[in-house]
Amino acid sequence: MERNQQLRRQLAAMRQSLFDQGYLDEQFIQLEELQDDANPNFVEEVVTLYYRDSARLLSSIEQALEKSNTLDFNKLDTYMHQFKGSSSSIGAKKLKAECTQIREYCKAGNGDGCVKTFQQLKRDYATLKKKLESYFQVARQAGPKEIASRSK
């Protein structure tokens, strides 16, 4: 009991920091609110899906960016659009913003900007993944009610 409460506090703090640091936005809360008996781990499920699916996309983007001298901005823009779509759907605020930024660079034909921002995006992508993974881990330990009871 004691331990459980401690876990919950920890969980709440982790969650809050994700918002405070700008990693997540209210869309994430939407996902939390969708959790119900039918899908008690809905958020985790979706996030897992997101990371699984976007990995491919990310490597496509990386490849596109490698040919920096013949960068196909249109193609990159399409990728970024896709990436932005899924990122925004899980509430990955920072990633979404970076996608938007890269898309603007694409329009401006700014290859350097694209590469630079993408590096940042990759870091944030990995960081968020790590943070969310440990968050879900704690959530599982704390028990199923956790996330649902905490919607902001």
């Binding site: 869309q27 939407q30 969708l34 119900d36 499920e45 899906l49 896709q82 779509g85 899924s86 925004s88």
Partner: protein, 681 residues
Amino acid sequence: MNLGNDRESMSTASSSVVVSDQFPAGLRVLVVDDDPTCLRILEKMLRTCLYEVTKCNRAEAALNLLRGNKNGYDIVISDVHMPDIDGFKLLEQVGLEMDLPVIMMSADDSKHVVMKGVTHGACDYLIKPVRIEALRNIWQHVVRKRKNEWKELEQSGSVEEGDRQPKPSEEADYSSSANEGNWRNSKRRKDEEEDVEERDDTSTLKKPRVVWSVELHQQFVSAVNQLGIDKAVPKKILELMNVPGLTRENVASHLQKYRLYLRRLSGVSQHQSTAFISPQEPPYGPLSSLNGLDIQALAATGQIPAQSLATLQAAGLGRSTAKPGLPMPLVDQRNLFSFDNQKIRFGEAQPQHMNSGKQMNLLHGIPTTMEPKQLVNLHHSAQSLGGLNMPVSAHGGQSSQSSSLLIQMTQPQARGQILNENTVGQVPRLPTSMGQPILSNGVASGILVRNRIGENGRGTGYNSVSQTSSMLNFPLNPPAELPGNSFPLGSTPGISSGTSTLTNKGVFQQEVNSDIKGSGAFMPSYDIFNDLQQHKPQNWELQNVGLTFDASQHSNTLQGNVDVAPSVLVNQGYSSSQRSGQNSNASELGKAMFSVGEGSEHGNPQNVGQHLNNFLVDNSMRVKAERVSDTSCPPTVFPQHFGQEDLMSALLKQQPDGIGPAENEFEFDGSSRLTSSAISG
């Protein structure tokens, strides 16, 4: 919270539409998105809304599902960007084959994409990430669509255009053949070569059936575009397409569907003008008739320079990209019964402003409903009649925040095409109490228009406005004219109080030249919906424009300005006898109407100006507002003591004085003359 209200309003609206008490639970939604994450979330959200969800990650597969079970879905939600088929093509295809409401969604909120969705017939456009609040309301599109279909059926053949067959048979024809084709199609869909095979097959079949694949359809569309939709005849299309196995009949039937589709794209404008015949029309129905303004028609006839049209539209959209001639389906027509959702919509993204929810917002829940009271029979001589109803409603001073000035223009058009007869019947509805904003405002207008080519065009408009308290409605009915003919428009600004009385109040003639212009001055919050229908270059159907002005912000300035050029002289052709048939039904007037005296609000009706270009909304508005305020009409004046005529005359008389700039001239005399003759007739 919404749900309860939804249900409630649904039941109000339900007379012919709603399927079950549980509605919208069980709504069958097909959701298409290539992004698995989004798809999963959407699925979950939709299920949370108690919809029945089918998900699909490929557009092609979605199309097959739809073809395989044509009646298996109520609505489609599709992503815009998909690898196999562009979402817009899917949209087009669905519109063509199934006529299901389609909602597009994308993380892309850029104007042109949203616009593209709308012009391709999407009933809504959601920006990703989609929120569940938006999904809770999608059932309204289904209801709206069915409602429209219902109306369509109700329509008589007389409204159909020359190039169109009576609808019922056409539809039946279409669906049966399409079903068969689709059934086959779905059975063999796995085959990648299906399209080719299909075509090959058709040549060997006795009665060839063609599945119009996306590719094939594209070929067809480009052929049609090459020929021009007017001149596209099956034979030529067939030649251009040059697809083995395709027969002239195939093309002919597809062409028919395509034309239907184009028509649908343009909204239900036609239905609006024609469908209100039945008295049991649900209360919200008539609203749609209010919102039509045939801008396009005016533009086509040179009444409004294209640029100003653009301005109008752009202004309405709050964006500069709107181009004249862009079809912008009027999404909001039947929106009344969903207006409990407005808040959500309203608070939401700008990009959605095309959708109905928003308009409702602007209306502040005080929709002005125009209802047909009687059929006005205009003599055969009326050629192209457009009725332009422009009720302007302003909130009284009671609540300055909510006060809004609404200008709605309806143009139950009839564009003289080829032996067209348009019958617009509108049935009166009794206004209900304030408690139910939707019902409360009843504007009865009935216009029966017959168009004959070669005859003199006459326009007649008749409106009655009913208002709830604090609403001011000024309907103007300037009929649209045939190009080349300048005939007078009759506009009846009617304000009546008391219960239904039949009177034509202020009637003034307007020349065809009437311009309607909205300028930025209207600003605060307003929305313009245009429904442009372009079947043929010359045949512009109705457009609906709803202007909503929030009066509260500019209490002293004119919020909405409608620049209608009045024709000074009553047109001879415009005989009183024609008018005589018109009755306006006025419902109860709210008190605050012209509460100019109270000072907070100046409901200022309309401006009639000959020169569109000269017309400065700001200035004229202001002038008028002041004028109006001078008019010492006690808030509650309107009731029966004031006949409309009186009211109008009071108003109108003020205006000439008030308008410093000479461009606006209210021919009050003329109008009163007309009025009296109409009444006496």
